[in-house]
Point group: C2
């Protein structure tokens, strides 16, 4: 197995410091299917790039796991992707972005690593006129406070309220993205935040599952609230960074897409297309084992 | 660590074939907090017994993982509990009961192993007058078909319909056990099953999370449907078995309860009491590492 030989190598051995680098795929990982919304945005913004996506479905969700566990899982995922050859690593998972981005940068330098939280926080600050920002995310992301810190770093005067919306994940995976139940759940989570004078003027979607609920969220918070999808803003930032660093793939040819999962390719292929916005079958999903990585 | 030394021992070395056996605790494992409903029923039925409960919160949920992964996790959990000294192993997780009970019995014989599916299926067959039985469970349990097979083994003429109700797990963990949202979700999952002529007369709760939703489920399916809680029926069967085998603890004294989790004792202690029906704090939850087991 390819990850077997990767264990003893260092990051720089994997990472060609040559012009070949630009033609390598971009590596992305998430705990499961949610990060496919990030992949979707990346493919829209970077149609000439090849991608390799790893969903750690054997250990999902990360949102309720401890920081130490999520860091360990993230290091394993990154090591595995590095073994396949990537030019950039995108953490398409808010929980892992919150706790593991520094550990990944340290361990795998000079591989550039981009999480979804910083771009989401920057975009949220940019979108907010009044500086009143709501963040919705999983329990782990909210309790970890990473969005709150990232927003404060950009805009210290911002007033941030964060709310864990665990049921949104289940609704998104069940495919109940619109309809009365989903609206009622959204009202229950959001009305006390938005239904007040001087409520937030911006809503940051701090979980990669949530973009598929966009229509319902728009309806519940109303037209006056800016909704920031961190998947989209991450893709914009990555495009800007690759452009600035001369790392855009200019070779032409058909870009490739590799989908990897650590468990259950069938479920991945059944639930995933809704998040990716494109069809794929279980036979297109490669089952991989991270236990040998690190 | 205690599991370190356990790896090289066989099951029979752990398992005292003497009268001391009856005073050992009963071991229980689940992927997380859901199995605490089984522990609750066991404590009600067996107030003189000591229990050691292991929630594999680092790898929850099992319901969406492959059978091979769940078997591996179950063997590790059982090995760990055996290392602590137990007289009986209860699999308080439907997914693990469905796929791992035979592997556990083979690997750890003579340790007796009881899952929740067989007692639930037997009780469902006993409760049903018409032989029309509905089973609600997680996706993994439903797709695996274990309840359908277990019911057919007891009552071959039974007509069984099984439905995956993934959102019930999220609702139970969120604490939204009653109210309009939960009722609507229940209607959406169940109305096409029960709202027909000659619908099921029995509903088997095939997920250990579901007993906390009992009031809502009762309201939605109506008073004429028998609801079978496999946690309760498992406890009844264990009491009968321990009695028959002379394994009831007759030493007297105060029975003990040990709670172990593989991740996040804080979350375990915040969500768990609703399932156990008794308060406990994070400091009462011991964090353990299964990675050294097997």
């Amino acid at each position: 197995m390819s990850q077997g030989s990767s264990v003893s190598k260092t990051a720089s051995e994997f990472f060609p410091m040559t012009s070949d680098r630009a033609s390598l795929p971009i590596g992305i990982f998430d705990s499961g299917v949610g990060g496919l919304t990030v992949l979707r945005s990346l493919r829209e913004q970077l149609p000439q790039e090849s991608f390799i996506y790893l969903g750690d479905t054997a250990r999902l969700p990360y949102g309720t796991k401890s920081g130490a566990s999520v860091v360990r899982y993230s290091l394993q995922a990154a090591q595995f992707l590095l073994g396949r050859g990537i030019k950039y690593l995108v953490i398409a998972c808010n929980t892992a972005s919150a706790v593991a981005v520094e550990a990944l940068r340290q361990r795998f330098a000079p591989l550039p690593v981009l999480g979804v939280i910083e771009p989401g926080a920057v975009a949220g600050c940019a979108a907010s006129l009044a500086g009143r920002i709501a963040v919705i995310a999983t329990e782990g992301t909210v309790n970890g406070g990473a969005y709150q810190r990232a927003i404060a770093a950009v805009r210290p005067d911002a007033r941030v309220v964060a709310r864990a919306c665990s049921l949104f994940v289940a609704l998104a995976e069940e495919g109940w993205t619109t309809g009365e139940i989903t609206e009622r759940v959204a009202h229950r989570y959001l009305d006390d935040i938005f239904g007040v004078p001087e409520g937030p003027d911006t809503l940051v979607l701090g979980c990669t599952h949530f973009p598929v609920l966009l229509d319902t969220l728009r309806q519940v918070v109303g037209p006056a609230v800016a909704i920031v999808d961190s998947a989209h803003t991450t893709a914009l930032q990555l495009r800007a960074t690759l452009t600035a660093q001369g790392l855009l793939n200019r070779r032409g040819g058909t870009p490739t897409l590799q989908l990897l999962a650590t468990d259950g390719p069938e479920r991945f292929a059944r639930v995933g297309p809704r998040f990716l916005g494109a069809a794929f079958s279980a036979s297109a999903v490669e089952l991989v084992d991270l236990s040998a990585a690190i």
